[in-house]
């Protein structure tokens, strides 16, 4: 248990209204606006609406875990803070998806990378989805506010060795790389961002917007999942939710549950790009053009694991500080799939479960754990006719599913990414490189790796694919034929329903999405406040 000051203890002591944590929520509640989800979208929305004087209820299906609970242990963090214990998968099990499920959502567990939406992405949205207002100039003030509010800026500490090797390998090949802006204040450079920041340096929604909303009188319901939206006379009348709490005792597990109905004037859905479309599907929201839950994007990620001569200690230090956009810029955005290169933090559980093979060959890889240098490539999906993304559905029990075909077009990008990463790793001095693929072997030079990667069958499941960025499914567009939501985030058919999260994006972003969500949702919420008659407010 972290002994550092935990602002939540102070807040709860002074009377923040949090239900579902130690006190179960009542059966009925009333609000001006219900905000479903407390991640990047829900957090920003809740703070602004509460400051504007509106009565806000935040609904969070995950638990309230704060810095005192963050022990930097994967075994505790994955089941407590992530969707499906960090093992959420596409329906064919070929893509493992990391998403937060706790107060602060994915911002509580992300690696702090903060990029504005790339200009090429905005141009594509204007041209293909009629989002005329999405220009760099129009978005700039909203990004600036988010950057000020969340202390987003250059990270001036030296990168850890895992990141430095990306810079070094790329530079030896004449490939540009740069440093990643981060949303931190007084970061201790521990490297435990993915398990919840134990020092409260990360300016996540858990530390910033959710507490501000509570200070302004908003109510937070935790361990409470939105089941469906009640629609009558063309408007949402209330949100039906279920409170579910589990307390583990020595001899038994005590489960408490109860139904909650929240009557409201407006609903903002911000449950992330799998749960938001799934909630709308469960609620049978009108979908005359069959666009809901379609065009779900993942930035499918492939990885390359190198062994260096020296210790890399990839668990240590800020996890993600160097990137290269070289391979996003070598072809047009709507040409063959481009990819962004970054590195992940390396911890035992995620490493052992991601690295292919078993028995002695895997044991040999694990023995080189401290010398491992891993690169990842985020594939930019959604910009080509052959990259239409996935489709969210719901099971009989209401839980969401995602079908995402890893077709030849996507896997061609994956092969080129494995090639680029291996070449960079050998240039950085790797003594062996293993593309993370069931049929690959550790290769000891670039020529051997190149020949082998050209021959690898780039099939789902054989190629290890993961994702930490889910986007789309309730896309914005200037016509209801092309999107679920209007350019202002309101649902095309239901005026008192808005979507404020990554599911708004009509394509993937081509960069880690948190700042894209902060900036866009900041803008949409300021408009929503005008519509609802609140006091004008800005994020900073």
């Amino acid at each position: 248990m972290s002994k550092l000051p935990d602002p939540w203890l102070v807040g709860l002591a002074k009377g923040w209204q949090v239900l579902g944590h130690s006190i179960p929520p009542p059966a009925t509640l009333k609000a001006d606006v219900v905000v479903i989800g407390t991640g990047a979208g829900g957090g920003v929305t809740a703070e602004l609406l509460a400051r504007a004087g509106l009565r806000v209820i935040m609904l969070e299906e995950g638990p309230l875990k704060t810095s005192k609970d963050f022990n930097q242990l994967e075994s505790e963090a994955y089941p407590a803070l992530y969707q499906e214990s960090a093992a959420r998968k596409t329906d064919d099990k070929a893509i493992n998806i990391l998403q937060g499920r706790c107060v602060g959502g994915s911002t509580t567990v992300n690696w702090t990378s903060s990029f504005r939406t790339p200009s090429a992405t905005l141009t594509f949205w204007r041209n293909r989805f009629g989002l005329a207002g999405m220009t760099e100039e129009a978005m700039a003030p909203y990004f600036q506010e988010a950057e000020r509010r969340l202390n987003i800026g250059a990270w001036l500490t030296s990168p850890n060795e895992n990141n430095e090797l990306l810079r070094k390998g790329a530079s030896r090949l004449g490939i540009s790389s740069d440093s990643i802006p981060r949303n931190v204040k007084g970061c201790w450079n521990l490297g435990s961002c993915g398990m919840g920041c134990p020092t409260n340096a990360k300016q996540s929604m858990l530390l910033t917007t959710v507490p501000t909303a509570l200070d302004r009188g908003a109510v937070l319901l935790v361990n409470t999942r939105a089941l469906r939206l009640n629609l009558a006379q063309g408007r949402i009348q209330s949100v039906m939710a279920e409170y579910l709490s589990q307390k583990v005792h020595l001899t038994h597990t005590e489960k408490t549950s109860g139904a909650v109905e929240i009557k409201c004037e407006h609903v903002v859905v911000a449950g992330g790009a799998i749960n938001s479309p799934a909630l709308l599907l469960r609620s049978s929201m009108p979908d005359p053009y069959q666009v809901l839950g379609r065009r779900t994007f993942l930035h499918p990620v492939v990885m390359s694991a190198a062994v260096m001569e020296h210790e890399v200690a990839g668990w240590q230090g800020a996890p993600q500080t160097i990137y290269s956009d070289h391979f996003l810029e070598t072809q047009p955005i709507d040409g063959q799939m481009g990819y962004k290169l970054e590195v992940p933090p390396i911890h035992p559980v995620i490493f052992a479960s991601s690295i292919p093979g078993y028995g002695e060959p895997q044991a040999a890889l694990l023995k080189s754990f401290a010398n491992q240098h891993i690169l990842l490539a985020l594939l930019r999906d959604g910009f080509h006719d052959e990259s239409v993304g996935g489709r969210v559905g719901v099971r009989a029990d209401g839980s969401p599913t995602l079908h995402y075909p890893l077709n030849d077009f996507v896997m061609d990008g994956a092969r080129r990414a494995l090639l680029s990463m291996a070449e960079i790793q050998f240039a950085a001095g790797a003594k062996q490189v293993l593309p993370v693929h069931e049929m690959a072997k550790p290769y000891t030079n670039w020529g051997e790796a190149k020949d082998a990667i050209f021959r690898l069958p780039m099939l789902p499941l054989q190629t290890r694919v993961v994702s930490a960025h889910v986007m789309g499914g309730c896309g914005m567009a200037d016509s209801p034929q092309l999107g679920v939501t209007r350019p202002d985030g309101a649902h095309w058919q239901i005026p008192n329903l808005s979507v404020h999260d990554g599911s708004l994006f009509p394509t993937s972003i081509g960069a880690n999405p948190q700042l894209s969500i902060y900036g866009l949702v900041n803008r949409l919420t300021q408009n929503l406040i005008r519509r609802l008659g609140g006091r004008p407010e800005a994020l900073a």
């Binding site: 972290s2 002994k3 550092l4 022990n71 930097q72 242990l73 994967e74 075994s75 994955y78 089941p79 499906e84 214990s85 093992a87 064919d92 099990k93 493992n96 201790w188 521990l190 435990s192 134990p198 020092t199 210790e311 668990w315 240590q316 911890h347 035992p348 559980v349 995620i350 490493f351 052992a352 479960s353 991601s354 690295i355 078993y358 028995g359 002695e360 060959p361 895997q362 044991a363 040999a364 694990l366 023995k367 754990f369 401290a370 099971r395 029990d397 839980s399 069931e438 049929m439 499941l461 054989q462």
Partner: protein, 122 residues
Amino acid sequence: MAKGLLSGSLPEEAVAQEAALSGLLLRLSDAVSALPTHAQQELCQLLALLGTSPGRWCLAGVSNPWELATVADVQAGLHAMRFSHITLRQQAYQALHDLTGAAYFSSRDTWTALGYPGPRGL
């Protein structure tokens, strides 16, 4: 099955290996109980199938009952599932691989062998 997946990582000495496997089973049980219902159900179906002779034979190609199977038998079964053309067999292999690897290496006892010092004290 864990003996096949983790050979080379498990302690070789019999008593220590037994202790490591008991710890692993407890952690696996915790990990599975934290999964959502639909994932638990799928895993249950997989394990139930692997527990029957026809299921063991069809999925893993292992003829000996698990309690009589050698590490080599188990590894031959893992190999057959891993490189099978049948999606269900690949999925089964990956589920066993991921769950076992995650549960085994979540224990501090396994970290020394990795050269991982554990989280920095605050």
